[in-house]
């Protein structure tokens, strides 16, 4: 009868048992009937007998066929990856992006919150006084230098200065400019007190920690110098850094980012060009302080340009300034 499709398929094992007379009469009948009804089974049985006649090891032949078939029928299955594969892929991606955020992004703008007390005296003094024009004269250690000006608390850079400088003409120019600017900004901001939040490139900080006595390049020489803290020009690649190092810069900000009103944060992004000039300012944050923030940076200490392969190069940096009400 029409038992087709509802029975388990016959295999060579059934055939063998049938041939060897191991089947019950009922089983034999059922197989015989199938062979009569289904030429497929009948033909296969004939093939089975032929295989035996020729003494072919059909088991291993079938085994290899099954492998080949699995191989061929695989593509669709391989699409269904186990859940752990997705999970591990996701965690790798997460890990990578975390790494990127923490180490790569922060190279550009890692933030470091610092607030300093500081006198309103110009931190630039140190900078300019030390102007590198010293024609490759190695700088004496900071401690060895005379410190005729006021000591600035925290910053070792500020303890230096007034060292006799040969060929200091450009340096004086810079100092004059800085002094004027500073006075202006101080005048403008008398009443207020600030704290600053400063973004510091990690690499720049590291570089600043390295004492350096290497000669500066021409362009850098005009405005920058090796300060005692050693904002360095030696490492082959570095980020822009303020002259005298970050600490003294923050110190400067803390004294100059002042507000008579409600406190507020401003992020100033600007480019420190290869010749140490500053350009393309952009601001983010509290609108009221946009102008003031840019002025504060412009009037602040000079900047050491970033270095790429030892060559000074223009690079963007971001400084976050917190204007805080002194009242």
């Amino acid at each position: 009868m029409a038992t087709i499709n509802s029975q388990p398929e016959f295999g060579f094992d059934h055939f063998r048992r049938y041939r060897d007379g191991e089947m019950s009469a009922q089983e034999q009948h059922s197989l015989e009937k199938r062979m009569l009804e289904e030429p497929l089974v009948a033909d296969a049985y004939e093939g089975f007998l032929a295989l035996n006649e020729d003494q072919i090891d059909y088991q291993s032949a079938l085994e290899s066929l099954r492998d080949t078939l699995n191989e061929q029928a695989k593509p669709e299955k391989s699409r269904t990856l186990p859940i752990w594969a997705y999970a591990s892929a996701a965690s790798i991606v997460l890990g990578m992006s975390l790494y990127w955020f923490v180490f790569i992004i922060n190279k550009n703008t890692s933030t470091q919150d610092v607030a300093f007390e500081m006198s309103i005296e110009k931190p630039e003094h140190a900078a300019v006084d030390e102007e590198v024009k010293v024609k490759e004269t190695p700088l004496p250690p900071a401690s060895a230098r005379p410190t005729p000006q006021k000591a600035y608390g925290n910053s070792p850079a500020n303890t230096t200065t007034s060292e006799p400088v040969a060929a200091a003409a450009p340096a004086q120019e810079v100092q004059e400019r800085l002094d004027t600017n500073l006075e202006e900004s101080i005048a403008a901001n008398d009443q207020e007190q600030i704290s600053i939040v400063q973004t510091i490139p990690a690499s720049a900080t590291a570089a600043a920690a390295l004492p350096s006595q290497a000669p500066l390049s021409e362009s850098a020489r005009k405005v920058t110098k090796n300060d005692a803290a050693g904002a360095s020009a030696t490492s082959l690649s570095s980020r822009p850094a303020p002259l005298n190092g970050w600490e003294s810069f923050q110190f400067y900000l803390s004294k100059n980012a002042l507000s008579a009103e409600q406190p507020g944060d401003v992020e100033v992004t600007f480019t420190v060009n290869a010749d140490s000039t500053l350009s393309t300012f952009s601001t983010k944050g509290d609108r009221r302080f946009y102008q003031k923030a840019i002025l504060t940076i412009q009037n602040g200490p000079a900047w050491i340009p970033a270095r790429s392969d030892g060559q000074p190069t223009g690079m963007q940096t971001t400084v976050r300034i917190r204007f805080r009400n002194s009242n």
Partner: protein
């Protein structure tokens, strides 16, 4: 989320062939077809060996037939997969033989599965069935006695060839051919009666 696999329902074994084929037609999932084919692989290998009489050629043929299935079943709707598969497998082997040795009778390559057989007809229609049962009795009488006895024992009493041999004293191969020929004659007789 199907691609995740976890939400994918495993193909339950009892899923009828026709349904699996229709799913394959829709999805083109070779894995699904592979599963289906694997249960027939021994049969196909046997058929191929029957015709080709060479192990490696038969193995190649089994895989070539699968490839043909992968293509053909995407577009063809196959009613009786087993018959169709048999026909495909046999034709493939015969074509191969023919390409090697130029002589193989054309009549060998015919599509036997095209014609519905006795069993399939029986389930069609109760009235037809009734009519057929009437003619069956008549046709049975028209068979030669060896065929009639063998058919009776095999189909009605459901005895196996061996038992029929013992019971009747016929030779094993004779029993087999009595049944085969008797079945064919019955069919011819039934068809003739059906047309009357």
């Amino acid at each position: 989320m199907k691609f995740l696999g976890i939400f994918r329902t495993r193909n339950p074994e009892p899923l009828p062939e026709a349904q699996r084929l229709s799913v394959y037609r829709q999805t083109g999932d070779v894995g699904l077809l592979g599963e289906l084919y694997s249960s027939y692989m021994e049969m196909v290998f046997g058929i191929c060996y029957k015709y080709l009489r060479d192990e490696d050629e038969s193995k190649d043929a089994v895989m070539q037939i699968f490839e043909k299935l992968v293509q053909d079943l995407k577009t063809h709707e196959v009613g009786n997969f087993k018959s169709w598969l048999h026909s495909v497998a046999r034709n493939h082997c015969l074509m191969q033989l023919r390409s090697k040795r130029v002589f193989v009778g054309n009549e060998e390559i015919k599509e036997e599965y095209a014609g519905p057989d006795l069993q399939n007809n029986e389930s069609e229609d109760i009235f037809t069935l009734d009519h057929q049962l009437n003619s069956l009795g008549k046709c049975m009488q028209s068979l030669v006695s060896e065929q009639r006895v063998s058919i009776q024992l095999f189909y009605v009493e459901e005895k196996c060839y061996k038992d029929i041999c013992i019971e009747t004293g016929y030779d094993f191969n004779k029993v087999k051919s009595y049944i085969q020929n008797g079945k064919r004659n019955l069919k011819i007789c039934m068809d003739r009666n059906g047309n009357d």
